[in-house]
Point group: D2
Chain length 331, copies 4
């Protein structure tokens, strides 16, 4: 019997497939082998810079990408919530992914957000993202008809998408935006699908995260923390990485936190984790992507404005944001 | 003397503009005149029939429209929540509106849902809807970044859309789907815009509805109940109509309820209202558009399946739905 | 077959029992007769004045009661949420009810809040309230273990209380405080109990209120609006009165609204209703009992401070409160 | 400068005061010394056994206490949410604490829940609990008027209680029951009070817990996890113990998890943590104290029934509960 995880009796065989490591793990129930894309590591869910005319500013995007390429990220998430994907056209979503793939090193993963409200559109978008060079797609829970988005509907949706997608699928639960938590029972069922490799969980319920990891280990299923605010805690219960908005601003520090956790240097990790909470909260729960882009500007990246209706921060919010970074020594 | 609304010193002169009545009302604060489209009456927010291949079935749509044309509706709402608009492509959304405009009598209003997440896309969609023949656009609150969708952001959004839209704008607050209530203070500000003529409120908070009506009367602003469940109560506090999912199934009855309210026959109205609550709840809050389409099938309309991930009702839900209609004598 | 309500074929026989009218209605299912206490009308849920030492100031209470006696209220609710009952000891709760019963005219009903968290304590408190002279008890939903307070638990609780109570029981649903809505199905079951005469519904969901009235009419069950904010709407769907915090301040006006509704003078009613919404919201949802007591001071009643931890209004809140009354001409 | 915590440069001087260790730490801002009760360790929030007549069964309580005395708990929490304190009279609450203090070893702490809705009653109850032998009081956030329970009100409440209490105060935030999270800013202010020694946080938001620990370290403030579900994660970010319902059933195992965390044996800790999540969730969020008492029965303790309105588990719930324990090897 073979188990996957970070805990004890693990046997992992790495293969190489294009630019990504693959995990080979024995499937307990079927005695067959399958390989799941190894997605361990830290990812910034990159922001989309806009020009004054509200169009995507690819020049600024390139400059950000060049800087990100020098940080030990495992890859980039393109079109997560911080990419303002709901504000982009279908064509823009694909084009940005295409651009990112061209500009970053081949050994970095590009994970593309391909979620749409309908299953049909999500399948189509996943195919286009794969064609644009994505190594995997990140599929947010559809949520407009949230009263009907029960386990049955979500299992149906993700199964259809995963069956059709040319690249592996990562589940994405972000209740702060969608008002919907992907049910644990749905995650457990979906973890058995060969083309579903993991979950980005942005809800931050550490009990839920630990339970999911516990119940999906034998499937080679990988859980990524959806925020730097609970990254240490997530590692402590067996998560294998994080998709962290804050990594757009403090990329080296988030990667350092990862390294401390992986090395078992928990006390140092804790001290660093503490100092990341307030800035992280500021660019996520408290003020969101508008603040993230502002903090990027302060840190030498191109952030700029968001597409309306997202509004710039007020004066008071701006002062609070600055304080949340400077009080921890980051500005 | 003709009165609009319930407030005294209003002067209203009706003109005709193409196929719709226009309201001319003296603007108290500016002494200038403006005209607001009269949207009083009952509207079904029509469902979109799909074929087995999940594409829009225009033939079935036509057959529904023919039946709706014989009911004394003021018009149709196309691409409301019950039209599954989040599951349609931009092209499909416009095409369906175009088809509806061609097939229904000229004196019926076509109100087209043109809301998108970004202001830019909503402006563009509103223009296309006007070109497709819409008499007005219904603009849902953007909601993905709901923590940032405060009054400031929403006033900015709706002002930009209303400034640009070739046809009048109707605000649309549907917290059950969006998790967001358009704040009263934003409604009051927006009611002063010449190209914003009213609000569809689906939240059902009758105190809020009454307050909005009270505070916007001098603007010629018109409030439509967003559900048949509180239609009588909405009329009792001054609403001028309703966009009612249930009208897709029991169109004559909802129009009859309107007539009883307008005639001041409150006791008869109450008896009819009572009998509409359970079926209405079944096709809205409880089971949603899936149930609406099922009930349409039972009543001689084409409903059919929804696009996935929306799933058919379970056996138990189906029985409950049937009971909610039959116990009130509608099946 | 005999039906009770305001609608159509009603046969009501009034008896007299001490100071209250009784309704005799034929029970459809059992063919026996029962009598339910007639609770139609307007009630202020009175505030509890405290002295500087935080003890109940009975002198000030008496002076308020004397003024309330001259207003055409049907009675008073003592120990509702606005009576700060959770801040009173068991002895104080009973003593205040006793005092009120002695000081107000015999033909006014005294409805005493007797709800506690446990069934045992609620039974005991209901007995004491009856001994203290209450004509009926108002029993709030227990809520601390709200996840377990399903229909089964609540039906059990209310049945036990109603079986034991020497005076009739009125159900009380106030989700704003308890985080719990008494389920409609529980209300329907409980409406059949001979000693349960009605419901105070403070949630304000008018669809729910109408449905409850519709489904309980044959039981002689009476629904009271729990707020002046939706009093007209509640009457429009068949409610028979209201327990309105605002009636502590604007008692005559709330009674006038009742009279206009009962007389079918809906347009006048609507104009008055409009002017009551903002002051009502200020003393309920927005600022609560602290504001209610402040507004009482402004209107010639004794309000005074609340027991801590309830804090006085801030300067900004005070200004807003004043504006909410003065803008509608009440100050 | 002296700092308290588990991290790095900590200087701790232990004194002895009756049966508990005291922490002496230099207060940075005042240069004075103060001593805070050391509350590190694991506590079961004990259940209250009732006889068939619904009265407290002290005999059964004694038998449970005897068993608990053999488990390496730091002490017991009496009258937490799992003690059904809202269902006990004031006299019963004190009497149970008195009994527990008499029956358990002197070196075990007795932490007594003394929270009431009003500040006045909480002060009085805290005094009585101290007289009954409590070493500290656990004070839940008042919550009935939750809209007004902002930081200002809660700081006022806790300061008054802590000023008056003869024994140290522990803050208690349990949003699942109260619908209210004690705001972080209130915790930070209150952590500076000499007689407030810590916080029991049952919400489980690990980011919030880490932030509170980070910001209160120099005050000698101690944070206890309010549930076994996130105990490891809480230790990983600096918590010093836990008040865990599950410890009523699996006391040795929860203490073992504590020891593994303190010893830095994180991988073993993780394996044990995993196996505790489902049983923990079953006796807390999912089914609550009713299930806790049932599981106690299965494990050789006296649990018995809850006071109504809490109802016994349904057959289906019972099976699920059993599965949640047996699937992890605990039954």
């Amino acid at each position: 019997k073979l188990q996957y995880g970070m805990l004890g009796a693990v046997s992992v065989i790495f293969g190489r497939c294009r630019r990504s490591a693959w995990l080979v793990c024995k499937r307990t129930q079927s005695h067959s082998f399958r390989r799941k894309l190894d997605i361990r590591g830290i990812y910034p869910p990159i922001a989309t810079p806009f020009a004054q005319n509200e169009l995507v500013d690819y020049q600024k995007l390139d400059e950000n990408l060049e800087k990100y390429s020098k940080i030990p990220f495992r890859g980039l998430v393109v079109q997560g919530s911080n990419g303002e994907y709901p504000y982009l056209t279908a064509e823009e979503r694909v084009e940005v992914v295409h651009r990112v793939r061209q500009r970053i090193p081949k050994d970095k993963l590009v994970i593309a957000g391909s979620g749409c409200e309908s299953s049909m559109a999500t399948v189509l978008m996943s195919e286009k993202m794969a064609q644009a060079g994505a190594d995997a797609v990140l599929v947010v829970t559809p949520c407009f008809y949230r009263n009907r988005m029960d386990s049955r509907a979500l299992i149906h949706h993700y199964t259809r998408v995963a069956d059709a997608s040319p690249v592996p699928v990562i589940l994405y639960s972000v209740p702060g935006n969608t008002g919907l938590d992907l049910p644990v029972e749905a995650v457990l069922t979906l973890s058995q699908h060969d083309n579903i490799v993991g979950l980005k969980d942005s809800g931050g319920d550490i009990t839920r995260i630990a339970l999911i990891i516990h119940k999906t280990r034998k499937e080679g299923f990988q859980v990524l923390a959806g925020s730097a605010g609970f990254l240490l805690a997530a590692y402590s219960v067996g998560a294998v990485g994080g998709v962290c908005a804050l990594a757009n601003v403090l990329g080296h520090q988030v990667c350092q936190l990862e390294q401390l956790c992986l090395a078992g240097r928990w006390e140092e990790a804790r001290e660093l984790q503490y100092r990341l909470i307030e800035p992280n909260t500021a660019v996520t729960r408290k003020f969101g992507v508008v603040a993230l882009k502002q903090a990027m500007e302060w840190s030498g990246y191109h952030g700029g404005v968001c597409r309306p209706p997202l509004q710039p921060l007020s004066e008071a919010e701006l002062r609070q944001l600055q304080h949340d970074f400077s009080s921890q020594g980051w500005l």
